[in-house]
């Protein structure tokens, strides 16, 4: 058993790539060892800016010899068969052995694959690892790069240390040969360091001022930064990202504390922290009161002769120049009001097909106000919602946000407060981008919710309107994030938000609120909402087509009605896919919480065409359904439902409604509304009623009829009250009767009237279940 050490030395590897490189090195090493049949145990991987290192403990000295036997043709077989076998097995005829197999002499090829020295296997593995190594970005260099076939690495590869036990594993990759010699710290150590074996590697490097274990460097930075802060009577603002980045930039990290002029503290603390962090990779500190202090901590890569005084002074100057810029931006930006800044948004293109940011702001303003007035968001002042929406993007044209785009929103909030706008407005401007992804804080202040929701709805519908939808891993406009934001806002604040309706509103050019439309028309106007809510998009389109002419006739301002309908039709075409997209995200979120997707899908569909577009209600439906399915009643009802559905499918039974559907019209309501169809429907209904009473039902049949008659209205009442557990309980009352029905009643009776009635009864049962949830989508 020997330990193996591999060090790949290069010029400075970007800090952000080092974690990935460590994982890649281990993965490729294991792959090579697996392929060679070498068992490897514990593997340690380290990185510094200038080297990747791997130590594999307890490798065998050699792989074991393997003996392989191949059975060939019997003795006396045609000579072609024997020839073919030898070729395949790669042996000479003379080397074949003969053995007895069930009384027949048979040829055998015996191949002895000798064991190989691990050292030789490693010598082949190392070049393969280097050649196959995948970096986020790689490059060519040096004289060899006259060919594009030359080796690619993240930065020039300059040395390989490869030791198995105390011996060098000799190999060569594009002119770089392995050995036992490496280099220490760039400035603290000159000359070569000869490594003896895996055990003295870290120690010898430490003597050369290199701490090769990245985790140790991270600990040093974490602890060192906290220590210099507390020595100055301050508290370090912890920042794990900075710890890792600085550990990736240093081989001998030395945290040093410096001070900047106190005057700079007038600018918002976030700008100081961001300047320090992003541009300079410095930590910042807080005083006892938790306020940002005028101190920074940089991480030097040297133990400077003067204790770091010059290093700190140099860094202080750089930071001062950066902070002067920040202060300059802060001063200049406040010379204008946000309303004045907002004019500049007319010059910024939001998207070439969607106009300027100012155009977007105008849309968001209307939508935010509508969301409040429509009662989707309660407790917000509509004027404040409008004002906040109008100013929310103004900071995009300020100098500060130009320099630090990460501060968008936050700076707007500061500037709003500085000019004396109400807190609710300033908070909304500050927080309206939230939530940005899962785990982010979800706003609850009503004005903020209005602006945030309107902004995201507009983004979604606008991009869907120009056919820019996410595909696969591509989501350049972060539409998935917008959809998740909408869901989180609705769930967190229990908003009565109908995605389809609000997306429709969002995409309408005209200012007609659906509410206004409803008020201005006779009760037909109200149908828009009903149709959208209950029947879904396709049905709505059918309805609009049939309905618009009659509405036009009834309305004195027909050209207005006409325009509204065209607009609505266009908006619906976009809103329906938006709703589906949001619901897909909802499914994903629910799955993340461990809820089976089939239950979400079953709860999403209501009735024949309806899709639940209110995520708060949908969540309640899913919960109720999940609890129900966990009960015995639920599981049995599902079985009964499947059986009923199978019979109906097998018999191709559509019932009275089915006959209407077969006329070619998709939408029953359109037909109800159509005077020409009234006679047809009445006739069908009469026919159906006539059938019901033509014979004496069996007891189990009667019991199911009675149960349905009770359960249907009970379920309907519960649904109306959004009491989904109640609706499930109403369904549960059907379980015993349906079981009994199947036990005792023959559906396919010889008499046609009985058969028809019983099939209708099953159809009614299925329809009753569907009103609560689409059981056909539940697996099991």
């Amino acid at each position: 058993m020997s330990d193996f050490l591999l060090e790949l030395r290069s010029e400075e590897i970007p800090a952000r790539m080092q974690a990935g490189a460590r994982a890649e090195l281990e993965k490729l090493f294991r792959r090579e060892m697996d392929a060679a049949g070498v068992e490897c145990g514990e593997i340690t991987v380290w990185s510094t800016p200038r080297r990747l290192a791997l130590i594999a403990r307890g490798l065998p000295v050699a792989t074991e010899a393997v003996s392989e036997e191949l059975k060939g043709p019997p003795v006396g077989a045609p000579y072609q068969a024997l020839d073919g076998f030898c070729r395949k097995a790669g042996v000479e005829k003379g080397d074949l052995e003969t053995r007895d197999v069930k009384g027949r002499a048979t040829y055998f090829a015996v191949k002895n694959i000798p064991g190989r020295a691990t050292k030789d296997l490693l010598a082949e593995a190392i070049p393969a690892i280097i050649r196959d190594f995948s970096w986020p970005k790689s490059m060519r260099w040096g004289a060899a790069s006259i060919s594009t076939e030359s080796l690619r690495w993240v930065r020039p590869l300059s040395g390989i240390v490869a030791l198995l036990g105390d011996d060098v594993v000799e190999c060569e990759v594009h002119g770089v040969t392995s050995g036992s010699v490496t280099l220490g710290h760039r400035f603290h150590h000159s000359g070569d360091i000869t490594i003896g074996n895996a055990d003295d590697y870290a120690m010898k490097l430490r003597a050369g001022h290199v701490i090769v274990d990245h985790e140790e460097r991270q600990d040093l930075i974490r602890g060192g930064a906290a220590k210099v802060a507390s020595e100055a009577g301050l508290k370090l603002v912890e920042d794990e990202g900075l710890v890792i980045e600085n550990a990736g930039l240093t081989e001998w990290p030395v945290p040093l504390l410096g001070r900047f002029e106190e005057d700079f503290l007038e600018v918002p603390p976030e700008t100081i922290q961001l300047t320090a962090r992003v541009n300079q990779k410095y930590f910042v500190c807080e005083d006892e009161a938790g306020e940002l202090a005028n101190a920074f901590i940089c991480t030097a890569n040297i133990e400077a002769e003067d204790g770091g005084a010059r290093v700190v002074d140099g860094n202080r100057k750089v930071l001062a120049a950066r902070l002067s810029d920040a202060r300059f931006f802060w001063d200049v930006d406040r010379k204008k009001t946000l309303a004045e800044h907002a004019k500049g948004l007319e010059r910024i293109t939001f998207h070439e097909k969607l106009g300027t940011v100012a155009d977007k702001v105008n849309r968001v303003v209307k939508l935010a106000r509508w969301l409040v007035e429509e009662g989707v968001i309660k407790g917000a002042d509509p004027d404040m919602a409008e004002q906040a929406a109008r100013l929310a993007k103004a900071d995009l044209v300020t100098e500060m946000v130009g320099e630090f785009p990460e501060l968008q929103g936050l700076m707007g909030g500061y500037y709003a407060r500085a000019e004396g706008l109400p807190d609710a407005v300033a908070d909304a401007i500050r927080d309206h981008y939230k939530p940005v992804g899962q785990g982010d804080e979800v706003p609850t202040a009503p004005v903020t919710v209005a602006v945030s929701l309107a902004d995201k709805l507009d983004t979604l519908t606008s991009f869907f309107g120009i056919d820019e939808r996410p595909t696969g891993s591509k989501d350049p406009f972060a539409l998935r994030r917008a959809a998740i934001g909408i869901i989180q806002l609705a769930l967190e604040n229990l908003l009565p938000l109908d995605i389809l309706l609000s997306a429709t509103k969002s995409h309408m050019d005209r200012d007609f609120a659906v509410k206004e439309l409803r008020a201005s028309q006779d009760n037909k106007g109200r149908l828009i909402e009903q149709v959208i809510d209950e029947l879904g998009h396709e049905a709505a389109m059918g309805l609009l087509k049939g309905w618009a002419p009659s509405l036009r006739n009834a309305n004195p301002k027909k050209e207005i009605a006409d325009a509204v309908f065209r607009d609505l039709e266009r908006a619906l075409l976009v809103a329906a896919p938006v709703r589906d997209f949001v619901l897909e995200r909802f499914e994903v979120l629910q799955r993340g919480e461990g809820i089976p997707v089939d239950l979400v899908r079953a709860s999403k569909s209501i009735g024949e065409h309806g899709i639940e577009a209110n995520v708060v209600r949908l969540r309640a439906r899913v919960k109720a359904l999940q609890s129900f399915m966990d009960t015995e009643d639920g599981a049995n009802l599902l079985a009964g439902y499947k059986r009923a559905a199978n019979i109906l499918k097998k018999e191709d039974w559509h019932g009275a409604e089915g006959e209407i559907a077969r006329t070619g019209e998709e939408d029953p309501l359109a037909l109800v509304d159509d005077p020409d169809m009234k006679a047809v429907i009445d006739a069908k209904m009469n026919e159906r009623h006539a059938k019901e009473l033509s014979y004496e039902p069996e007891p189990a049949e009667k019991a199911l009829m009675d149960a349905l008659a009770k359960s249907e209205p009970a379920a309907a009442r519960a649904l109306e009250a959004e009491d989904f557990s109640g609706a499930m309980a109403a369904l549960a009352s059907l379980r015993a009767p349906i079981d009994r029905f199947f036990d005792e009643v023959t559906v396919n009776a010889d008499e046609e009237n009985k058969r028809a009635h019983r099939l209708d009864l099953l159809a009614a049962f299925r329809a009753a279940v569907h009103k609560v949830a689409d059981f056909s989508r539940i697996e099991g």
């Binding site: 260099w141 790069s145 006259i146 060919s147 594009t148 930065r155 410095y282 140099g314 010059r347 293109t349």
Partner: protein, 299 residues
């Protein structure tokens, strides 16, 4: 002769010249055109193409009209100097050479914290990109260090290493001065401000307020036309000069604030086409000669 790079801006430049000259570089003079960066010098762009070894160092004055601050900002200038070193193919000890050059001008890496921080370089205008670092000295970026991978849309074969020192910043650092105009130019009390303050004032005014924009648009169109004219006559170096000219005129138009956001992309595209077209033509013209001389090379 004794140099004193720690007290004199010009001695710092001369010390760099001495150093790189001793390490085999041609010491060239600045290109006699207005340009935004030393990379535009033909000694960098055009010489980065093709297989021939090329080692050169030079100072290049750079014009960044939008960075002008009327002489009022301590470290922003519309005209400043870059020190460029181009080494092709990139030598294995290029980092050591660079660090040695810092020692020569008085930066001791055991007193100052020198770091190589990832910073990749890309110039869409030149169809060029490379990987490398910005070199930090006590947190200040003093040099851009790039391994050119592509130029004019062509793979660099072999790869050249490019070092771009920001001379004023470096000098301010070495001399311990907070304002660029306080730099000692000659070590005898003539300041950078004595030489350039008035230029900065006047040129900022001209760049931002005075330059006749109709004439600039006209110049841009003429440079573009002349570039194409030169290309059709198969004189790519002349064409490249016109691309550099168009690029600078575009920067002036930007400073005058007469190019809208939408137009900006279109102008940049036009400049890019000129620059790339010139590089391609240069490549086409030289490729047969190169291929004959370096059989292992191919376009």
């Amino acid at each position: 002769m004794d140099r004193n790079p720690q007290k004199s801006f010009q001695d710092m430049i001369l010390a760099l010249h001495d150093f790189w000259s001793a390490h085999g570089c041609l010491i060239l003079q600045p290109y006699d055109m207005r340009m935004g960066a030393g990379t535009f010098h033909t000694a960098t762009t055009l010489r980065a193409l093709g297989p021939e070894p090329w080692n050169a160092a030079f100072v290049q004055p750079c014009r960044r009209p939008t960075d002008g601050r009327y002489g009022e900002n301590p470290n922003r200038l519309q005209h400043y100097y870059q020190y460029q070193v181009i080494l092709k193919p990139s030598p294995p000890d290029i980092q050591d050479l660079y660090l040695e050059s810092l020692r020569v001008i008085g930066i001791d890496p055991l007193k100052h914290d020198i770091r190589f921080v990832e910073d990749d370089w890309e110039s869409p205008t030149l169809g060029a990109w490379g990987l490398g670092w910005e070199v930090w000295c006590d947190g200040m970026e003093v040099t851009q260090f790039t391994y050119f991978q592509q130029m004019g849309g062509f793979d660099c074969k072999p790869v050249a290493g490019e070092l771009t020192y920001g001379l004023e910043r470096l000098a301010m650092y070495i001399q311990g001065v907070d304002n660029v105009y306080d730099l000692d130019f000659n070590g005898k009390g003539v300041t950078y401000g004595d030489v350039f303050l008035e230029n900065e004032k006047q040129m900022s005014k001209w760049n931002f307020e005075v330059a006749e924009t109709d004439a600039l648009f006209d110049l841009f169109n003429k440079a573009e036309a002349e570039c194409k004219n030169a290309l059709s006559a198969n004189v790519p170096i002349a064409a490249y000069e016109q691309a550099v000219e168009a690029s600078h005129i575009f920067n002036l138009l930007q400073a005058r604030g007469v190019i809208s956001v939408q137009e900006r992309a279109s102008y940049m595209g036009r400049v890019r086409d000129l620059a790339r077209g010139s590089c391609e033509a240069h490549m086409e013209k030289e490729a047969p000669v190169w291929a004959e001389k370096y059989p292992e090379w191919s376009k």
